[in-house]
Symmetry: C2
Subunit: 258 residues, 2 copies
């Protein structure tokens, strides 16, 4: 079972959009996928489960009041299950702070599920606190989404330092699965400059697939649909479906060689 | 002196873009403006000060190692000063946690400057931790930017609860200056739906001004220019300049009547 944590402390760079749509694209390729929502804002949960907040969620799992298995639900996406977030996660950061083994709660919670899922995708909030650290410690791979703009580039240094710290302090073998551009607009000169900088710095770690700017990606979650479901009802071109399916192929190829 | 804290725990909704460009538009209307960067990601600092990180910044102020006045610098925007953020702010949240009066450090630091500035604008990170709480406790007004999309609407509840808590627990008279749409694309049906919901919920608190989607707003910070400086070199229409100048007028009118 691979655990891919999607992380970037810069806000609004497409973490949640990538979690939802990569999960759907992988499930369409017959992977058994579990999404774990570790963001107290519960955006992935709202998109994948309709707006009824489930009674038990990851907050209960983190404080030991429920097993991870028990909070897993079917999502609105075919072949994707979800361990949802909830409001109580906002307090979990604090209540977890004083507990022993506080960085490995998610990792330990996922271990019994190793036979049940092929890929676990973890959504995180734009803050490198205990919830995100749990996501990174539980992960075999970290996927870093960013938009090709000025501010997202500034944060990659800090993210890299956090990943190194986790490898050394938590005896983790976490690998960077790659960096993916999540709102690619080729008409913008800035886009090309940012991609050049990114490729100069990270070479082959940058995914060849770029998710093009596409308003369907904004609309689909409002209808509780992933992009494959949403665009299936629209005429070609189905850019979001193409892009996330291409990303899923690239992800699977990198997982098989890592 | 008015203190306007720009806050929204949803990431990437245009907080920093609003801080930088509203500050510039207010300064163009002869207001003496101070930007305080309370985000350890220091995005406003990078845009307004070039990339040389200043030796002393808000992290030193918060732990009592420097006065706020001593870290203020001229920014690259005309008429705008800045109290910059720095990497050390990432630790400030923790070191501040055990200190007495930990939520009022910024408020107390700003008091001596009441005669020096007309408007202070505080940038915050997408996380309601101690740094953002300091921003809200120090504020006379909170300005909430959001893009007209599905996920930003989900977070307004929690933000509202945080503001109420601050009013009651911290004897603050914090007012909501308003909600501003920061990436308005009228061709998108979703935009209209979100704005309808927002106006149904918040009525007159929603600013009439909407910042239209505009790639100049993405490019300007990469050149360390605010939108007024950047678009001055371009032919009409100067949408970013128009929109942020209109927002500045609306802000000044609301400040004078509040
Ligand atoms: N390729 C794209 N084209 C157009 N809009 C996009 C694209 N990718 C994401 N978006 C939109 O951009 C906004 C931010 O994306 P998203 O919420 O996924 O980012 P995030 O990194 O999860 O944010 P946060 O840091 O708050 O968790 C959303 O409204 C989303 O619908
Ligand atoms: N009206 C607009 N048109 C086009 N792009 C915009 C607009 N407003 C903001 N942006 C871009 O959207 C991205 C997110 O904006 P910004 O960084 O200001 O949001 P933020 O709320 O400060 O994010 P964070 O939560 O990470 O602090 C930036 O790259 C910015 O340049
Ligand atoms: Mg998200
Ligand atoms: Mg910001």
């Amino acid at each position: 079972m691979h655990v891919i944590t999607v992380a970037n402390q810069k806000g609004g760079v497409g973490k949640t959009t990538t979690v939802i749509n990569l999960a759907a694209a992988l499930a369409a390729k017959k992977q058994r996928v579990l999404v774990v929502d570790m963001d107290f804002q519960a955006n992935a949960t709202a998109a994948l489960l309709g707006t009824a907040a489930p009674a038990q969620n990851m907050a209960h799992v983190l404080v030991g009041a429920a097993s991870l298995k028990s909070v897993i639900a079917e999502s609105t996406s075919r072949g994707v299950s979800i361990a949802p977030a909830g409001d109580e996660l906002a307090r979990a950061d604090l209540s977890l702070a004083t507990k022993m083994g506080r960085e490995t709660v998610l990792k330990r919670g996922l271990e019994p599920l190793a036979k049940d899922f092929d890929i676990v995708i973890v959504d995180t909030s734009p803050y490198l606190g205990l919830l995100t650290v749990n996501g990174l410690v539980a992960a075999s791979h970290v996927l870093v989404p960013l938009s090709a703009e000025f501010f997202p580039m500034l944060g990659l240094q800090l993210l890299g330092e956090t990943i190194s710290e986790i490898r050394t302090q938590m005896r983790s073998t976490l690998k960077v699965l790659g960096y993916v551009i999540t709102s690619y607009d080729k008409r913008l000169g800035l886009t090309g400059e940012v991609i050049d900088q990114l490729e100069a710095k990270f070479g082959n770690q940058v995914f060849k697939t770029r998710i093009r700017t596409n308003s369907n990606l904004k609309v689909a979650p409002a209808h509780h649909r992933d992009i494959l479901q949403y665009e299936a009802k629209l005429p070609s071109p189905r850019k979001g479906t193409e892009d996330y399916s291409a990303l899923a192929r690239e992800v699977m190829s990198r997982l098989s060689t890592s």
